[in-house]
C-alpha cells in the first residue's frame, strides 16, 4: 500500500487531509509536535519539523521503505501583525516552520524516493503571496520561499520521477484565520477568480489530483484554489 506522510496533522488542513486521504486507499503517517486532540485513524509520529534532528530521527525509521509515495508539507503557522511590532521569536517561528521545516522534510524524504523511483511532494503556500497581503509580510515571505523552493527542487527530483507542486489556498476556516475579521477575509476572497471561500474539501480534491498516478508530468506548479 502506498504511504503518504503528512506534516501538521494535529489540526486544521493537515488533520483533514490525513484523515481523508486514507479513504483513497493510502496509508497515512501524520507528523506533528502534539498528538491530534480529535480522534484519528492514521499512524501518528511525534516530530518537530523546525528541528533537523527531530526530522532526521523520524525519516531514519522509514528511509528504506519503498512504499513511501507522497509527502504533504502542510504544517504552517501565521501571525497577523505589522512587521514593526512583530517579535523576533515570532518571525523565527514563522520562517522555521513554514519554510525551513518544509525544506528539512523534503531533504530527508529524498532517500526514500531514490529507492522507489517515484513520488509526489506537495508543499503548501497561500493566496496571500499572490496579493501581497498586508499585515502578513513574514508569513508571505515564508510562503514565497516555499514557492521558489518548489520550482527549483522539482527540477532536481525530476530524474527520480518525483513531482513537486504547491497548493495555494485562499482563506479557509481554520484556527489560523479564526481571529481575522470576516470583512477582511471577504475582501481577500473577492480577489480570486472564483470569489467563493475555499474549503478543506477543495484542497483535498486538488491534493488527490496531484497524488494520482496519471499526474506524473505535472510538476513545479502552483495550484491557486479559486484562481487569480
Amino acid at each position: 500500500m502506498k504511504k503518504i506522510i503528512v506534516s501538521g496533522c494535529s489540526s486544521g488542513i493537515g488533520y483533514f487531509l490525513a484523515e481523508n486521504i486514507i479513504q483513497s486507499g493510502y496509508k497515512v503517517i501524520g507528523l506533528a509536535r502534539n498528538e491530534p486532540k480529535e480522534k484519528y485513524s492514521f499512524d501518528f509520529e511525534k516530530c518537530d519539523i523546525r528541528n533537523l534532528d527531530s526530522v532526521k530521527s523520524f525519516f531514519s525509521k522509514i528511509k528504506k521503505d519503498k512504499d513511501i509515495y507522497g509527502l504533504l508539507n502542510v504544517a504552517g503557522v501565521a501571525s497577523m501583525n505589522l512587521l514593526a511590532s512583530t517579535p523576533e521569536k515570532t518571525i523565527n517561528n514563522i520562517i522555521n516552520t513554514n519554510l525551513i521545516g518544509t525544506i528539512y522534510c523534503v531533504k530527508e524524504v529524498i532517500p526514500c524516493f531514490v529507492r522507489s523511483r517515484v513520488g509526489r511532494i506537495i508543499n503548501f503556500s497561500s493566496f496571500a503571496v499572490k496579493i501581497g497581503l498586508q499585515g502578513e509580510s513574514v508569513y508571505v515571505a515564508s510562503k514565497a520561499g516555499v514557492e521558489g523552493f518548489t520550482r527549483s527542487i522539482a527540477r532536481e527530483l525530476a530524474p527520480l520521477n518525483v513531482t513537486v507542486n504547491c497548493i495555494s489556498p485562499g482563506p479557509i476556516q481554520t484556527k489560523l484565520t479564526s481571529k481575522v475579521p470576516s470583512s477582511y477575509i471577504d475582501k481577500v476572497i473577492k480577489q480570486q477568480i472564483i470569489d467563493k471561500q475555499c474549503t478543506k474539501e477543495d484542497i483535498l480534491k486538488c491534493t488527490k489530483l496531484i497524488l494520482n498516478k496519471e499526474s506524473d508530468k505535472i510538476t513545479g506548479e502552483n495550484f491557486i484554489i479559486g484562481g487569480y
Partner: protein
C-alpha cells in the same frame, strides 16, 4: 575482510550500475564531486545511499555523508572513489 581495494571494487561496481557504463570507465581516481566530476548529483546521492547500506551491513557502523564538509571539493571524503573507500576503511578502524 573489508579492505580499501574491496570497497573500491564495490563503489566501481555500483557506479557502473547507476551510470549504466562499463566498470572500466571508473577507477580510484574518478572524481565524484567538483567541476570535473564524472557523475550527476542525483547519481551521487544514489551511490551514497548504497554506501550507507554497505557500511551498515558489512561494518556495522554508520556513514554520515550529509554533513557540511562532505560536498566540499578540496577536502571532501567524496573527492574521488579512492578517498571515499579510504573513509569507509577509517570508519571500520575507529569502531
Amino acid at each position: 575482510m573489508v579492505t580499501k581495494s574491496s570497497v573500491e571494487k564495490f563503489i566501481i561496481k555500483e557506479l557502473s550500475r547507476i551510470c549504466k557504463e562499463p566498470q572500466d570507465s571508473f577507477s580510484a581516481t574518478t572524481q565524484l564531486v567538483g567541476e570535473n566530476r564524472s557523475i550527476k548529483s542525483m547519481q551521487l546521492v544514489e551511490l551514497l545511499l548504497k554506501m550507507e547500506d554497505y557500511v551498515e551491513e558489512n561494518l556495522n557502523s554508520e556513514f554520515n555523508w550529509a554533513d557540511n564538509s562532505a560536498m566540499s571539493e578540496t577536502w571532501s571524503i567524496l573527492r574521488t572513489v579512492g578517498s571515499l573507500a579510504e573513509h569507509v576503511i577509517e570508519l571500520n578502524s575507529k569502531k
